[in-house]
């Protein structure tokens, strides 16, 4: 069965500094990978996804992530953060099996706090 580990529960970062959020997964089959963002008092919004092809994926709001199959990782990065990037970020994995029904397994989340 799949599992998702987000290695940092909270990441403090200064405005205009870079940020990296780490995500590792375990699965015995091929997977799709996702990053979601949750702003305060809102639902989750898709940032980016990896389905196939190039391992470097670009998403909304200047975020990108790189799929590393050998490391089973899907780390999220942004070169320069804004105050508005303060949010919780979730990594999610979907196994490519017929009985998965496309279900997503989520990590525990990483809270990003951007300060001036």
């Amino acid at each position: 069965a799949q599992s998702v580990t987000q290695l940092d529960s909270q990441v403090p970062v200064f405005e205009e500094a870079p940020v990296e959020l780490r995500c590792n997964y375990s699965s015995s089959v091929s997977v799709y990978l996702f990053w979601y963002v949750q702003y305060p008092n809102q639902g989750l919004q898709l940032l980016l996804k990896y389905l196939s092809g190039s391992t470097l994926v670009k998403g909304i709001n200047g975020f990108e992530a790189e799929f590393n199959k050998s490391q089973t990782s899907f780390h999220l990065r942004k070169p320069s953060v804004h105050i508005s990037d303060t949010a919780e970020y979730f990594c999610a994995v979907s196994e490519l099996t017929t009985d998965s029904w496309g279900k997503l397994q989520f990590g525990a989340g990483t809270q990003v706090v951007v300060t001036p």
């Binding site: 639902g43 989750l44 979730f90």
Partner: protein
Amino acid sequence: DVKVTQSSRYLVKRTGEKVFLECVQDMDHENMFWYRQDPGLGLRLIYFSYDVKMKEKGDIPEGYSVSREKKERFSLILESASTNQTSMYLCASSLSYMTGNNYGYTFGSGTRLTVV
């Protein structure tokens, strides 16, 4: 703009009450999901449905049931609410995995339920 709508943003219920959480999507999605979100635990799947009148248990179904009589509506039912069901509840929908695509979920804004 496509949407997943959850009927209530905040609910306060008493222990022992029967509670209904409603979710409606307008995207003609086959799959619908109910998650609960708790600090430090991320999102945990309660139930999902891949078709009308079809339902499958997720990781934490105990104390919950669901109903899907129409494609666009998926209801979560707490048969007898307890204080440990105080949480944020998130509904999501997605295309059927059988289409060969997995674009992830579209989420509602969530219902914050407090059981007193």
